[in-house]
């Protein structure tokens, strides 16, 4: 199939998704798709992603479409430069298909906090697709694109992947350049990938990974290769951290995990009990570290240089800041800026930010101990429940934050992890999480491919 034909089909599917009310995109155009097809056709046909349409979460900058982060404060903003990850994907033959809806500035777990309306779960319009990369997840789940970029700060790809029944991969921190990813929590942010299959996601990840001189936090190590899928899991010891299997785990999730455990064992892996005691503090730690960094990262949206400006009744610069930011940011973003400002304030820094940094290290040490103790991978549920209903948690921020209870710790530790579908609960997908040691992304993906194939034979999963 030619790139031009793929571009036309993709446009038709995007239009159908819009018509179905998915609200998963913030920008796409047939002209842009056609231009991408023409560009790709000039590239070697054996480039690794030749003609693959990819959606981008709208916090990844491109020069040919707006980048709004689903926020009024960046309405209409077009970047004068392109993210490194996008340049690499385009160079590998991928076509940028659309900019996907998201929680405003990637803050949320349901994609209900978009200034441009919530994203609808493709399988059940009353439910959320997860978040914050809900638009990207929904586009892959609905079969509009085979892969999409999301971003993770604390589970924003794995959690919606689990909700939507697709594969979601968060690479090791430092694997993919953040240059051109609009910053939320810089020490946590990772451009991450959704795919219909482990292989789709792995190919995309391999194409965009590698050291970037423009991002000092990328590691100067050889780029990731597309992993050779394993046929079995013989010789692998897979840890089941007991803290991630609480007694009150949702029965549908528990059933999915049982299926994953069985398949893992049948593939020849040895399952072992491990403990990650400090993971219990991951959510509160995350909700100090991420907002602190966010409060600084979002200070630049002041209406002075770009984005809509509100003058404010009182006149003067303070009024301009207050009006621009007060009207430009939604309530969840404002909440996080306030939390972040508070935890860094004189007199509170030690009690919150400094302590959170210490706990973060303890959380990471738990994982390191497990991996150096002879465990190759960890297996956990991705989320405590399947996709919840729209509006169910919007009135209770803490309940919303706890949707990320199984994914946050991994982000704080900077480790590679993925979610892959392992079953259904009342028709809704359930995902399991595989976690690898730092920079062992390839080994993790190779094992996931074996598990994916074994589970694919199970009618309950798809």
């Amino acid at each position: 199939m030619s790139a031009a034909a793929v571009a036309r089909d993709t446009g038709a599917r995007l239009a159908a998704a819009d018509a179905a009310g998915l609200n998963a995109t913030l920008y796409w155009s047939q002209e842009l798709l056609d231009a991408e097809a023409r560009r790709v056709e000039a590239l070697p046909a054996d480039s690794s992603l030749h003609g693959m349409p990819i959606a981008l979460k709208d916090n990844i900058v491109t020069t040919d479409a707006p980048t709004t982060c689903a926020s009024r404060i960046l309405a209409g903003y077009v970047s004068p430069y392109e993210a490194t990850a996008v340049t690499r994907l385009r160079g590998a033959g991928a076509m940028v298909a659309a900019k996907a809806n998201m929680d405003e500035f990637a803050m949320g777990s349901s994609t209900e906090h978009s200034a441009f309306g919530r994203v609808v779960h493709p399988l059940d319009p009353s439910r959320v697709p997860g978040g914050s990369s809900g638009g990207s997840a929904a586009l892959v789940a609905a079969g509009v694109v085979p892969a999409a970029l999301g971003s993770e700060t604390g589970g924003s790809v794995r959690q919606p992947a689990s909700f939507c029944g697709v594969v979601g991969v968060k690479p090791s921190y430092g694997r993919v350049s953040r240059f051109g990813l609009v910053a939320f929590g810089s020490s946590l942010d990772c451009i991450s990938v959704f795919g219909r299959t482990v292989d789709d996601a792995a190919r995309v990840l391999a194409a965009m990974s590698g050291h970037d001189p423009l991002d000092r936090t990328t590691l100067d190590r050889p780029s990731m290769r597309r992993p050779e899928p394993r046929r079995d899991l013989r010789g692998l010891r897979i840890g089941l951290p007991r803290e991630y299997f609480p007694a009150d785990l949702h029965p549908g999730v528990a059933a999915g995990m049982e299926r994953a455990r069985r398949a893992t064992r049948e593939l020849g892996a040895e399952l072992v009990d491990v403990s990650l005691p400090h993971s219990a503090f991951a959510v509160p730690t995350y909700y100090i570290v991420a907002p602190a960094e966010a409060a600084a990262n979002l200070a630049r949206y002041d209406g002075v240089r770009y984005g809509p400006r509100r003058i404010g009744a009182a006149g003067g610069i303070q009024a301009l800041y207050q009006a621009t930011r007060g009207e430009g940011f939604g309530p969840e973003v404002q909440r996080r800026i306030l939390i972040g400002t508070y935890v860094l304030s004189a007199g509170y820094y030690d009690a919150y930010y400094r302590k959170a940094q210490r706990v973060r290290k303890l959380i990471a040490d738990d994982f390191r101990r497990a991996f150096t103790g002879g465990v190759d991978l960890l297996l956990t549920p991705t989320t405590p429940t399947p996709a919840f209903r729209a509006g169910e948690k919007t009135g209770d921020p803490v309940a919303m934050y706890l949707a990320d209870v199984f994914v946050c710790a991994i982000s704080l530790a900077g480790l590679p992890a993925l979610s892959l579908p392992v079953g259904r609960s009342e028709g809704l997908p359930v995902g399991a999480q595989l976690i690898g040691p730092f920079f062992e992304d390839e080994a993790m993906l190779a094992a996931a491919a074996a598990l994916e194939r074994a589970l694919g034979a199970d009618a309950e999963v798809r």
């Binding site: 980048t67 982060c69 004068p80 810089s186 200070a299 630049r300 860094l344 004189a346 820094y349």
Partner: protein, 475 residues
């Protein structure tokens, strides 16, 4: 009642780099607004900082020149505040783990002789942009050319005891940094800026009084004036039972007054935290040692060497080393064959005048050496040489000898010409001739002067005296 004044200074110097602290934009002064900007220094969404290795090198060099310990690990931190000239809403600086700590500046105090002031710390940071209030009526414009310019902030201990000492400290600090090649330290171009902290206390008291901070000091002279004004204000308050509040003040150089800018209660909580975009700055001990070894001769060492090697007076060495360029020039003139004291006199005279005026050397060192050699060889007089110097300064391509010829300043030694001038002078002053002949020997100087005048300075004074003697001894 007597009061002791306690002063500490925070000095920001712009590091002499070609590009900015965290991006590749050029650091220039005076270009049209917003012509040296990019996604990083504009604070665009998604842009990231990349530390400038040359800025790190220069800051480390400056720190070592000030005797600081340069740390193997230092950390960039975000200093958070909102201002329209600050694109990211935070400044990347260093906070609890600065590049360098614990140095010293030895300088000549006008009151206490040779003293040392401690350097608390030297850290790296980026500059903000500039607000333009006069460009559009009723509006403020933002120029971000300067945003992201690399700075070293140098904080002194509260070891300075008077406004004049503050000025002397700054003069020496500036010298050291210029010698080390760290910064141009030009206050006019904003590449050196000073904030001063000042408090007073009764003599013998060891605890510090409540300090105020004076900003907007645009010359060393104004630092001294502003601190004088603030000291007077504080003493006035203390002696009338008033309370000194911790405030930030602006110096109004026109009025010679300080004005309150904001109080402590209104001061910022900068909410510093480590910048997650930048891993800790790690400097290898070997690299730090290389920077130490690569330090050029600093002012104090040079002063001592000039005195010892050239045998010039201590005062001359002090003046010549005051500006590194001046000392370099002096040494070049000596190297070109001029006797050291003669060279020092010239450099401290006409050369320094033009240097202070233009910041440069209109007459190159080899040309000046050639000119001074003409004086030594009696080809031109000292007075004539100064005229030639002025001529060369206007037309630097000329050869000194050619200029002397063209201006008709070559000294005349021809006996016939000298005799003619002498005869004319003696004929014109019969009274003085008679008095000389009756024993007033000191009139010889008068006759020489008259001959010089009549010859328009061209007569060689050494040739004139014998002719005068010969004529006056004839009866």
């Amino acid at each position: 009642m007597a009061w002791e004044t306690v002063i500490g200074l925070e000095v920001h110097v712009q590091l002499r780099t070609r590009t900015k602290m965290f991006c590749g934009c050029r650091t220039t002064f005076g270009d049209p607004p917003n012509t040296h900007v990019c996604p990083t220094c504009l604070g665009l969404p998604g842009a990231l900082p990349l530390p400038n290795a040359e800025a790190v090198r220069l800051a480390a060099r400056g720190a070592l020149a000030l005797g600081c310990t340069v740390h193997e690990i230092s950390v960039f931190a975000r200093k958070n505040y909102f201002y329209p000239d600050l694109p990211k809403g935070y400044q990347i600086s260093q906070f609890d783990q600065p590049l360098a700590t614990r140095g010293r500046v030895a300088f000549e105090s006008p009151e206490r002789g040779r003293i040392e002031a401690g350097i608390t710390r030297l850290h790296l940071e980026e500059d903000a942009g500039k607000l333009l209030h006069d460009r559009f009526p009723g509006k403020t414009a933002v120029d971000l050319n300067r945003a992201g310019t690399p700075l070293a902030e140098i904080v002194s201990e509260p070891d300075i005891r008077s406004p004049a000492e503050a000025r002397a400290y700054l003069t020496t600090l500036r010298q050291v940094l210029v010698y080390a090649g760290v910064s141009d330290c030009s206050m006019e171009q904003g590449s050196l800026r000073v904030d001063a902290n000042i408090s007073i206390r009764p003599p013998g008291e060891t605890a510090l009084g409540t300090k105020t901070e004076v900003k907007n000091l645009n010359s060393f002279a104004n630092v001294e004036r502003a601190l004088e004004a603030e000291r007077t204000r504080q003493i006035g308050l203390a002696e009338t039972g008033g309370r000194i509040a911790q405030v930030t003040l602006l110096f109004d150089a026109g009025a010679g007054e300080v004005r309150e800018l904001r109080s402590k209660e209104e001061s910022h909580d900068y909410r510093y935290f480590p910048d997650p975009d930048l891993p800790p700055l790690v400097l290898a001990p070997g690299w730090i040692a290389e920077q130490q070894a690569a330090l050029p001769e600093l002012p104090e060492a040079r002063r001592a060497r000039l005195e010892a090697d050239y045998g010039i007076p201590a005062y001359d060495a002090l003046v010549l080393t005051g500006e590194m360029d001046l000392a370099n020039y002096f040494e070049s003139v000596v190297a070109a064959g001029v006797e050291a004291k003669m060279a020092a006199n010239w450099v401290m005279g006409d050369v320094m005048s033009s240097f202070n005026e233009t910041g440069g050397f209109p007459v190159g060192a080899p040309r000046l050496a050639a000119l001074v050699t003409l004086v030594r060889d009696g080809v031109v007089s000292h007075q004539a040489a100064r005229r030639i110097y002025a001529e060369l300064a206007q037309h630097p391509d000329q050869d000194p000898r050619a200029a002397a010829d063209r201006l008709g300043l070559v000294q005349v030694r021809d006996q016939g010409a000298l005799s003619a001038w002498v005869d004319e002078v003696l004929t014109a002053h019969p009274g003085e001739v008679a008095r000389y002949r009756s024993g007033e020997a000191k009139l010889m100087g008068f006759f020489v002067g008259q001959v010089m005048k009549r010859s328009q300075g061209k007569a060689d004074p050494k040739g004139v005296q014998p002719v005068l003697h010969e004529r006056l001894s004839r009866r």
